[in-house]
């Protein structure tokens, strides 16, 4: 007991000078706001990071048990690739600075780094340079994760990783620069709050190209009949949806780029309303269309609503966010079924959710949003599509001709876990090995 008292006394001695200082030159209100803003942005960075867990769960759940190791390996690798490439060149490609305002392309050099000013409110009242980098780096990785789900269960691991590196290191930040980096789309008056187009469509276009070049999984289409290939763990897929929704509070909430109480809470409300409506409407549409309500559709519907609201979360009204979510929820069900019938085999519905609903959300922002113009939104959607789809198609095709894009039929039948990794995800659950 005396020792504790002594410690308290010593601590008070240290504290005294601090109190004395406070009276003369304490932290100003602006200093406190800077700390609060920066803390919120770090929280949002962590939330966007959690989305990678959500993607991993969703993709694992919606594919077969024999490809689980492969899916998880890809999802883990993409986080690494996204963050590293963003540090090496992505951040400086996406935010090259005022020198490149209005341009198509800008690059401020390799690597990341800042002087003292980058750590103060002089850099930005909302966050430090490092917070800025980390928050944006978490975004970058999500664009490649979208592709991962669409090409699942048949893509060759090495080729996919090469594609991801190129896409996240160059294409994603280049397109992002057009708007968020102060490029030409910004000049056009394009509005994409948190990335319906710049993140989700960019990933979605690559997903579509990948699916087209790869072809469907073996056994999916036979003599004109569609044979559904069922996911092996719907509890995991559902958990994935919940984690993605959780992460979206950071994805959209952080895109306010400060802890502005009014805007952060407003954006969180529109985001949540769109997710809730997307979920309910997709559930109802699937109930009518498929006779019975389909859990995987309700999961996709929630994500569709989230992707849809992402472009305009800050400028549409709560009622309009419900409309955006409702249309996204309905559209995604038709898109999943329609894309399947076009013989484009997308195991997790990534093109329907991220591409189709990303486009819808961007256009909806032009229709409903205060001060947004539908023309500018159309230009943005078209430009991103005209750039990302051909270039990712060419990349996939070139990789297909050189490295090979797809595993052999035998490897695909046995499962990518054993053929690509020599491992099993559920060793012990099935009597599958003896030694």
């Amino acid at each position: 007991m005396p020792r504790i008292l002594l410690s308290v006394f010593v601590l008070m001695l240290f504290a005294l000078p601090a109190f004395a200082q406070d009276e003369s030159a304490g932290p100003t209100a602006a200093d406190v706001m800077f700390v609060v803003n920066n803390t919120w942005m770090i929280v949002c960075t962590c939330l966007v990071f959690i989305m990678h867990l959500g993607f991993s769960f969703l993709e694992t759940g919606l594919t077969r048990a024999k490809n689980t190791v492969n899916i998880l390996f890809k999802n883990a690798a993409i986080v690494g690739i996204g963050i590293l490439t963003y540090a090496i060149c992505g951040f400086n490609l996406m935010y090259p600075g005022a020198d490149f305002a209005g341009a198509w392309f800008g690059f401020a050099g390799f690597g990341v780094g800042t002087d003292e000013a980058g750590l103060t409110a002089a850099y930005n009242p909302g966050y430090t340079y490092w917070t800025d980098f980390l928050f944006q780096a978490m975004f970058a990785a999500t664009a490649a994760t979208i592709v991962s789900g669409a090409v699942a269960e048949r893509v060759k691991l090495s080729t996919f990783l090469v594609f991801s590196v190129l896409y996240v290191a160059i294409i994603y930040p280049m397109v992002g620069m057009w708007h968020w980096g102060g490029g030409w789309l910004k000049e056009q008056g394009f509005h994409d709050f948190a990335g319906s187009t710049l993140v989700h469509s960019v990933g979605g276009w690559a997903a579509l190209a990948g699916v087209m070049v790869l072809g469907p999984r073996l056994g999916k289409y036979n003599n004109g009949t569609i044979y559904p290939i069922m996911g092996h763990n719907l509890p995991l897929a559902a958990a994935g949806m919940f984690f993605l929704w959780l992460g979206w509070f950071g994805f959209n909430g952080g895109s306010v780029l400060s802890a502005d109480p009014g805007l952060v809470s407003y954006v969180s409300v529109t985001t949540t309303l769109a997710a809730a409506t997307g979920l309910m409407v997709a559930g109802m549409v699937s109930w009518v269309l498929q006779k019975k309500p389909d859990l995987t559709m309700i999961l996709n519907g929630c994500l569709a609503g989230l992707v849809g609201i992402t472009a305009g979360a800050d400028i549409v009204s709560p009622m309009e966010s419900i409309v955006i979510g409702a249309v996204a929820g309905a559209v995604v069900v038709f898109a999943v079924i329609g894309i399947d019938r076009l013989k484009l085999d997308d195991p997790v519905g990534a093109t329907s959710v991220h591409l189709i609903c990303g486009i819808w959300g961007t256009l909806a922002t032009g229709i409903f949003g205060d001060g947004a113009s539908i023309t500018a939104q159309l230009i943005g959607v078209a430009a991103v599509g005209a750039f990302c789809f051909p270039i990712s198609w060419v990349m996939f095709f070139a990789l297909h001709k050189t490295m090979g894009l797809r595993v052999s039929a035998d490897e695909e039948l046995r499962g990518l876990d054993i053929s690509e990794h020599g491992q099993e995800a559920y060793a012990g659950f099935q009597i599958f090995t003896t030694n």
Partner: protein, 113 residues
């Protein structure tokens, strides 16, 4: 009456089911199995250590049929399961003493069909 037991590669199951349906054999039991044969095993690795896997995943199909259905059942299974490679599987034909349908209490060849 015979009990036909076949071990096949898992990925051939849809083709075998189709062939059996064409041969008008609708009734079957399917279960997963692991087994060792002349196909040999393969290697897995876990955290740097090699694991030898010698029991491979197979599908076991059982069909109880009347004598006049035996040949066409065998033919259908062969047609669906054969790829020409080692590991396509085996078919065993066993005598079947009795067959009773639980619902009606029927006994014998009627109970199978």
């Amino acid at each position: 009456m015979k009990l036909i037991v076949a071990y096949i590669q898992p990925e051939r199951l849809p083709a075998v089911k189709r062939a059996l349906a064409e041969a008008e054999v609708w009734r079957m039991s399917v279960m997963t199995a692991v087994g060792a044969g002349s196909q040999g095993g393969y290697q897995e690795s876990y955290r740097g250590a090699e694991v030898e896997v010698n029991l491979l995943k197979k599908i076991r199909i059982e069909c109880a049929v009347n004598d006049d259905f035996v040949e066409r059942t065998i033919e259908a299974i062969v047609k669906g399961a054969r790829s020409g490679k080692i590991g396509d599987g085996k078919i065993f034909v066993l005598p079947l003493e009795r067959c009773i349908r639980i619902r009606t209490g029927e006994d014998g060849t009627h109970a199978i069909g």
